[in-house]
Amino acid sequence: MTGIRVLVGTRKGGFILNSDEKRKNWTVEGPLFAGWEIYHMKGSPLNPNRIYASQNSSWFGQIIQRSDDGGKTWFQPGSVGEEPAVDEMSGMPKGESNKFVYDTSDETGKPLTTHQWYDGTQNPWEFARVWHLEPSLTELDTVYAGVEDAALFKSTDGGTTWQELSALRGHPTGPAWSPGAGGMCLHTIIIDPSNADRMFVAISAAGTFRTEDGGASWTPINQGLHSEYIPDPKAEVGHCVHRIAVHPDKPNVLFMQKHWDVMRSDDAGDSWYEVSGNLPTDFGFPIAVHAHEPETIYVVPITSDSLHYPPEGKLRVYRSRSGGREWEALTNGLPQENCYVNILRDAMATDSFDSCGIYFGTTGGQVYASRDSGDHWQAIVRDLPPVLSVEVQMLP
């Protein structure tokens, strides 16, 4: 690998940070799509020039952007930069790359109409935005989208059109799902690198689900989770899972940062146990796994569900080299006073250089990086808008 690209989504646009294998000097490109919320940008593992971006505005809705040249130029698939996809019947250009329509077809035959609202009543599913884009590990033009209100969509034409994998939302527990404080969002999509038909998704606040058949059917995998903020703390669904992570060499070992609690599963989610151990607080949002050490994991503890900033105003990443339970604070290069930022669930990533790099972005607009597995940190950019997501691309 000769270089690295860090894709940063923020409240007011996207940014691309570039460096070489030394990761000392960085260039900053952006803002891309200035003024829009960029919830997530992610590149294809099959071709680093293929990048997808989720662009959103509460005024003008959802836009999907795609680059095929490493972020130099962008277009809305099917609308710009390509021949318009034309509906043969009406002759109208389709412009469907932002068309996320829930499946209510008769063929599905499931009650895909309402979910639980904050007050306990039933509320119609309403599309708001794409939280997360996950390109396929095996098919260049296949990409998944996790959306709010929670559902999973799939595109097999490079983001030009989207179809819901409705068996997830049509699970019998669907009407019991409810929104967390940030909305009811499907924010995590993990594809098993050893089996493309197996995927894990996480939803706030429903929990974690697994499919073994490419999305045709789903199983809630929340046994062992304990959430005091729901009527039945051990319910099958209703847990506010903030993020799950997996090492590609151990796809049956999952790590979870829940609303409260850091959890681990050794059986692909069939059962979970707590590994919060000696963390100063086990509330937080992101969780990440070291690129070369499947038992080394990272979290950023946040004071509480009411106080979304680090304890004592000290920004500390915590690392466990034992797969949880025993944690050490990583502080070298991070502010240790008067720091009251948050780190959101999709805003932490790792690279796969021999000396593993760790990256995270803050709501204060800094992106911090470590070139040595977390021992030392530096801000590679400051004063961006609040950071929503951070992804890393290794460049050949």
Binding site: F33, G35, W36, S57, S58, W59, F60, G61, Q62, I63, Q76, G78, S79, V80, P84, M92, P93, K94, G95, E96, N98, K99, V101
Partner: protein, 108 residues
């Protein structure tokens, strides 16, 4: 782009907010050819026909409901809540005044 006014259509001047102009890759006011009778729906149909990347941004896919924070102004009137099939004022159809798509003012 140079556009003449076809005898079978009306030349409607349209002003869009910054974000939509960026998406459509246009600057300033645009001129749309709209088949009469000129209504809000007809203007939006013409807009989306010419700029498919704007579909879903002003009104929803499938239902064609106006997005909640989008407003329509024309001839110094707020036509946001008017039936979309109601003919627009002659000043709009004749092109003497523009039809405006506006992002609602929102605090914060």
């Amino acid at each position: 782009m140079s556009e003449g006014i076809s005898p079978t259509t009306c030349g409607v001047r349209l002003i869009m907010p910054h974000h939509l102009r960026t998406l459509a890759a246009v600057e300033g006011e645009i001129l749309l050819q709209v088949a009469p009778p000129v209504s809000t729906r007809a203007v939006l149909d013409a807009l989306e026909q010419r700029f498919p990347m704007l579909r879903g941004t002003v009104r929803e896919h499938v239902t064609f409901k106006r997005r909640p924070k989008v407003r329509f102004y024309a001839n110094e009137q707020d036509l946001t809540h008017q039936d979309p099939d109601t003919p627009l004022p002659e000043a709009i159809a004749s092109g003497s005044k523009p039809f405006m798509i506006v992002g609602a003012i929102s605090g914060g």
